[in-house]
Subunit: 238 residues, 6 copies
């Protein structure tokens, strides 16, 4: 039995709430159970300098966590004067994941910046961030179509993410903090709507794991991401 | 007529929503219209080193703003590697304001840290932060009483804050962003429940102002803060 | 009786010594008793980028303190790698105060940068800094008139500052360090030569104070600033 | 045909040269073709503070690159004042990978710090770093056994790493820089001597990839890591 | 003819003014012509951690320059967030120079920190800093003798410094800024009262120079430092 | 007898190994006994901004040390976020020394950046860095001549460096770490091939030294540098 009482292949309650932010061109508060990540998309009128003249746009991401999003307070990175390695790793992952489904030629020489800020953390903040950012990004593109700056939404597919892990010898889907802390292995999967692999990060926490176990994790991830993509469709009013 | 249609002495809609955070010992989402500031109180088991052995506790505050809390995106302070002068000014003000109504001897040698994070900004974030932090602080003290660490809540009074300003030649209460940007003068008042003055910060933005104008601003502030204190009472279930 | 033996409404000995710096376009060593602040004005040929093309100039300030300006040595901010919140708060205040009496259109698209460096501290460094900076700024403008870059001095009035406070239940003018450390409340007033209010910062240190007490502080400030303005007139050879 | 003329499942020339450093307790210059990474192991007499009293040791890693290790010079991180996200990601990976085969109870409350410094880069620096660090770590443990501080080498297995990728539609082993720059997908595998999975990081660079492709990459990795483990055995004189 | 009209072996006007600072245990404003460096000595009750238990004290120095000490304003190091290489080089030199004449055993396990702050610069700030710091240090030791903490002044000799250089083919003593900017070679000499060499830093600015020229610079330095030592004796009331 | 058994005027074994780096335009691994410094020269297509339009080029240097180059591990400067004063002092010295023999007009408006990275340290890293950098610089200029960007090598002479010191009352050449740690005085000499003086840095470590001693150190340096210049000639294939 999982600590939360969920079945092994059961997601937490997923809510993708749009329109949370008054100012952003697109926004989505992604809730995976008690993990709440606010994703906002900001449209910037130029792409980065190193893309000038290429006709290509750029999508990038930043990640942060409120100090008391966690059970024990985490020091504010702005006060410490540097972003942790973990923060940088996560924001690089989010940016890469989204770019895998963006038609950067079609979007033109602009930049869209996703901010993923964790209001409350209970495991899986990066996967909630990716899943919610896709919604925020879609809404920002909708906005650009609506105001006539784009003629179509330059997204080639959905992208969503979920964590799986080995917990007490069994493969489980969508780990919460309690499970994550005690997992033998932990894997994050980023897949497209059509099931293509965008990113896999699998890590043994305690002792090495086997290929058959890995395959079981991937199978669970496919199920969970299928459900997340359905939620994304509802969120964008599709 | 004010841009928002409010009367000169009318606050925006005020909501002090408690229990927003699952983890914090006390929390309050303070909404002054479209300004939303999440205030969390974290209890730490020791006071700062320089108070060791004095029998006194400490209350301090930190302030931050989500990058897209504002109309135009603001760069993340964690990414820039330093907190702005404005941020530091505000967090020092919030800490000082709360300490003015704390019985630091009665609280004992612990520290309570208030985090004020602006989820959405529309003027008056520091006054919402002070007003909401008092609620979060009260809830954290309630928690300490409940678990038997304290016998009574070591607060001597309420403290709340509001901005007033001179807008198109008239004194108005609780400026929103549009008014704030065009104000001739801008003043923040921090008062106690019994009307004592904790802090006044009045600034001419465009040209110097007169003492009679200042007195009118203070009169408005007294009215607004009276109403905020009523809201605080309701929020703490009083 | 005040520790210094001064009357309640008596300033310390005020000296505004011009020409202290060989290199600066304007300079003033402002002495308020044992508080000595060197103020230099540097003329820069362009205004900040965000003013380009507006026809407006800019006046800004920086503040620093020599490590042994204080009784106990203070660590060098350059060695620590960041300016404290207090430093940033003060330099923002000095800049705002001066801009309130500058005709930024008449000065044209240049920038004048005031550096206020505390050679010795005994309370009231920010008020000495503002008062001395006005003199340094005036001298820099005189220089620009003399070399034909300006036709008139683009200042609309004097500006000067003084601290007042509640010390042993009484309102007193121009606190020195001993009084400041023990004050119940501390207020800094920035007023123009004609008595207009530019900035008020009043802070309860120990317990809240009353409006009547605040009014008494303001009355003292008016008297002190009147005397400072006379000194400024003498300093600029008026 | 691969640019280097290698077969799809062929490693570059691998050299694990021990004793490169006069001072370190263990050292290994790992050469994967033109990629040269110097790995040194430093024994520290205490484990990190947060392990005090647990009886457990710690193994950690740092990573750096000489400015002209790369074809185009890379700015020195010490001069920029911060380590890039990429650097932090890699050094976290190296540390995690080694800890997966360390018996932290048996090593006792010490710390071993691996420094991986890239003298020359041609793709695959992190995999060379992990493979060489295992050798340096083993030598440092040998040293501790020799001087009588440990009775046996507290390693449970070998660990080694290799990159694989999809290059011109084919899965290839051990990408060099030219292949890496043009790869459709890029995966780093960290496996133990017995074939257990320690870490998988697979990233689509251009477009999503399929599960069958991923499985082919893993098959290649198993072959390559088998050969690397043989080299490690020779290097430690086994 | 030198730009200043001085003879080749003539110092600028030297003033070593003691008692400039109200707070410091020793202070000296060292003026070498228009170069004005404030040197303060701060006594700290413990020596650095790495000397704990050795019975030895430590003398160290920090160096700074007011932004408008120079003809063109120099950015404030505190604002830039780091001390320049030049600053660090100078403060290390000053500390080393003073330690060469301190009996660190006799002073006991305390630390004295010299702060050299350039109020106005016209060449030779480091040599003025060393020469004035010796006076400030002596005064601080006098103070410790007076209050009974030491029985004798733990200085083994004077130490003073001067720059010499090759200007328009001739060796000259005590370069001012105009000469320094145009010098073919520039050398700083730190000598003791008895003529021992503490430090020599000689640098070709434009083209290499000859040993005979170097010897001529050293001869000038001996003359100048002899005069500086006389001034130091007067300053300490000897 | 010296700890190493060398004669007083005997260098350690000197090896200047070219072509160590695959990528750099010029490279030299300079070995002075167990001190190994990798020097690479990078050609950049423009000179620094402040030289734009002057027709002059620039040569600059950076210096770093691998963490375990030293007997006790040194913390990584990139991790600490700042370069030490020692590092900055050394890299400024290397740059100055090389510029003394470069015809900056003849090289044109380009920049060459020397990176000196200490792979292993045993005293004298800065002198090995200067000596090896001259070789790397020469090779980079050869490369520019070969590709037709320059018509001749714009070097006016050799430059090389060596340390000398007073060790157990005797002057000795080329100190290793053991001697350096116990030296009474330590001097670094930078001379040209024709014997011109580029830089002298002589420091008393323990007590002041005499002019006759200094002259003996300089005599030793001339001998050593003569031999280094011969090695440089061989290294560049001259």
């Amino acid at each position: 039995m999982r600590p939360s009482g969920r079945a092994n292949d059961q997601l937490r309650q997923i809510i993708l709430e749009t329109g949370f932010s008054k100012h952003a061109e697109g926004s989505c508060l992604a809730k995976f159970g008690d993990t709440h990540v606010l994703c906002t998309a900001t449209v910037e009128s130029t792409s980065p300098r190193w893309l000038k003249g290429t006709g290509l746009g750029w999508v990038t991401a930043e990640y942060g966590m409120l100090p008391r999003a966690t059970n024990t307070r985490t020091d504010r990175e702005a006060a410490k004067g540097r972003q942790s390695g973990r923060t940088q790793e996560i924001q690089r992952l989010i940016g890469r994941s989204l770019r895998a489904v963006v038609d950067r030629k079609a979007m033109g020489e602009i930049q869209i910046r996703l901010d993923c800020d964790v209001l409350q953390a209970d495991g899986g903040t990066r996967t909630a961030g990716i899943t919610g950012s896709w919604v925020a990004l879609h809404l920002a593109f909708q906005h650009l179509v609506k105001i006539g700056q784009l003629t179509a939404i330059p997204l080639t597919d959905h992208v969503a993410a979920i964590s799986c892990g080995l917990h007490e010898e069994r493969a489980v889907l969508d780990l919460d903090y309690v499970e994550d802390s005690a997992a033998q292995a932990d894997a994050n999967f980023v897949l497209t709507g059509r099931g293509g692999i965008v990113e896999i990060q699998a890590t043994a926490e305690e002792r090495p794991f086997e290929e058959t176990q890995f395959n079981e994790l991937l199978r669970l991830a496919r199920k969970g991401i299928g459900e997340l993509v359905e939620q994304q469709k509802r969120a964008i009013g599709g």
